[in-house]
Amino acid sequence: MTDTTAEANGAVGSASGSLIETFERGLDAPICLTWELTYACNLSCVHCLSSSGRRDPRELTTEKCEAVIDELQAMQVFYVNIGGGEPTVRPDFWHLLEYAVDHHVGVKFSTNGVRIDPARARYLASTDYVDVQVSLDGATAEVNDRVRGPGSFDTAMRALDNLAAAGFRDAKLSVVVTRHNVPQLDEFKRIADEHGATLRLTRLRPSGRGADVWDDLHPTPAQQRELYDWLVRAGENVLTGDSFFHLAGFGGKLPGLNMCGAGRVVCLIDPVGDVYACPFAIHDAFRAGNVLTDGGFARVWRTSELFARLRAPQDGGACASCRFYDACRGGCMAAKFFTGLPLDGPDPECVQGHGEPALADPRRTVPAPGRDHSHRTAPRKRRSPGPVPVRIGRRPEPAAPPASPCQESPLAGFTATEMTSPETAER
């Protein structure tokens, strides 16, 4: 939960206990949320969390999008993380951006850079309410383009150059950490520094097409350690969307608020208006409702049964006896769900090594993928276990998320300065 301003605040870690409890019960409105405007994308990244590519014909019209923004304004959602797909390929993207800003809903948008030309960069630099996050998954074209596709490195670098030349301050360079780019962490930092940008590292999750490549791309146990040490050294100069709290067992909490915010303080609105607990959980099991057919976003947020379940007190399940549970909270709900692990057990990348045996369990059933909007250029590869056994019967009920947080959760864009009481304010 610390992203953009984490560097300014040291109070979060020490003071987060009561804050986490407050958050776990849920708020009247999300602190900030992710909104994917379109499933259309010019790229076909192999790990795309939303399996994007083709536009969905049911995507919200401009008017419906404006109505959503009106509602966010009324709920005082300060900030929305706009993504996709590639949001800037929507013809009304720039209009919606201005509409949001005019209605006091701040925007941070993620882009592969395709439309960030010098003129757009100058416009973006001229407003306070917009933050831009450029995705890059390799510090060299070779490593990046293997994941994000040919030419995508150059596109992202051009966008960063244009933003820097226009005087845009503090853009985010957003990197999903993989087996291939762990050795490049210093390089990423250098690229960010050279552009006056801030590096943001996030966790690869087996969501969307990420499920197909997770086995091959997720960092090895030795790399997890390397990553943790690097993050500790970098401190608050590098943002993480609080997405690495499952690494806490290596030594101690990383900066930020450590909890899963799914359905509690964050959520996702997808291009057709479906509301999910988290951007990494696009699956029927985590669908809370739809802004068009269920009476609007506020109603879904406040009355969804799924969200009520996620906000109910959780116990740690198989993790409860782990001495790192307080910081790790059993890891990421989406990572467990999409690898077919029990939601109240250890994370597939548990630093205590409980993930590997769980992944090796022959009874493990990987859930069928949720929505798929991939370009239909090549048949989709499935990961190693072979054909996915489709389970007939009740859909899996999500247990509560680990009582830990994460900034993929849109929360990751915030500095949480806690003021528990006037007595503690000077910290």
């Binding site: 939960m1 953009t4 301003t5 300014a8 605040n9 009561s18 804050l19 407050t22 708020l27 009247d28 409105a29 602190i31 005082q76 300060f78 900030y79 006091h104 701040g106 306070d128 309410y129 933050d131 864009g413 915030f414 500095t415 949480a416 300065t417 806690e418 003021m419 528990t420 009481s421 006037p422 007595e423 304010a425 000077e426």
Partner: protein
């Protein structure tokens, strides 16, 4: 340093306050900081700053006992450091 309680303050123009059951969330659109005001009294004080000749008056009006003013002064100082509240220019204001 001058006593913050003797000065005139107001919520920064870039800040939005959102009431919550525990108090309020305050968000600064410029520096993108989110702050949790975890006491309703503090929220009332902050909201009252703009209409009070000085912070002390805002504390009185919110019914904060004088014994707690020191703690509140520190809280306000913290908010000022984060640009959540700003010192107000009082020239031209009726005394």
């Amino acid at each position: 340093m001058a006593d913050i309680l003797d000065q005139a303050w107001e919520l920064s123009p870039s800040v939005a306050l959102r009431p919550e059951p525990f108090g309020a969330l305050a968000y600064h659109f410029g520096n993108r900081r989110l702050t949790f005001l975890k006491r309703r009294e503090l929220v009332e004080v902050v909201q009252g700053l703009g209409g009070a000749p000085d912070a002390r008056t805002a504390l009185e009006r919110a019914g904060v006992p004088a014994a707690q003013w020191g703690a509140y002064a520190r809280a306000l100082r913290g908010l000022a450091d984060a640009d959540m509240i700003r010192q107000r220019d009082t020239t031209g204001e009726a005394p």
